[in-house]
Symmetry: C2
Subunit: 121 residues, 2 copies
């Protein structure tokens, strides 16, 4: 059997005392990232780079909740967590599953570091 070409990495770490799991999977048209502190896939958000933006210094991203509660904070967290992934992955959109107990700025920063450790792009 040939080796699967879809790359996936996952990690489990404590963030402010809360067990946090990260799963990153690379598809040709999407990076799939799940960040969960409940074991759930959580709110599913697509984070898409805006192709109309022509100024590289201020990238625009649109976020859309596909599944789950559509709350303003979700969009903010999603952009914060997925923008750098999209940029590093050649502007591929990110499909993000978000189930966080702690959405503080400090927690988000730590979670970003875990995502970096699961780089598949």
């Amino acid at each position: 059997m040939a080796e699967p070409i879809i790359k996936s990495k996952q990690a489990l770490k404590e963030v402010n005392g809360i067990s946090t799991e990260v799963v990153c999977t690379e598809f040709s048209n999407y990076i799939f990232v799940v960040l969960t502190q409940y074991g759930k896939i959580g709110t599913l958000i697509s984070v898409t780079p805006d192709s109309r933006s022509n100024d590289i210094s201020t990238p625009a991203f649109s976020t859309k909740v596909l599944l789950g509660k559509d709350e303003p904070l979700t969009h903010v967290c999603a952009k914060h967590l997925a923008m750098f992934v999209s940029q590093e992955a050649g502007n591929r959109p990110v499909l993000l599953g978000l189930a966080l107990k702690d959405s503080s700025i400090d927690a988000i920063k730590q979670i970003k570091e875990i995502v970096k450790s699961c780089q598949v792009w």
Copy 2:
């Protein structure tokens, strides 16, 4: 570091001469299944058991396209491919990524067997 609790399995097989990849990941509230012949995540569909159904012999499922083209065939394929997963996983809904070149009944049957080999639920 503790061992990740999110289970994931993948497989790569030929289906009627077409390289077919399957990724199955278990979350507490969803089973995530990607079936791709393009390396893409493809059309994203939620397949949810209908809680109103009280007749066990004829389970009802609702399918919803979250991302991508919403075509009648997509719903048929999604039900065919995800219903048994949901049932085996204690009626958990299935999040299905579908990017198939060949959606023939024969191909679907073979793909179901690959999904069974990636059982994470």
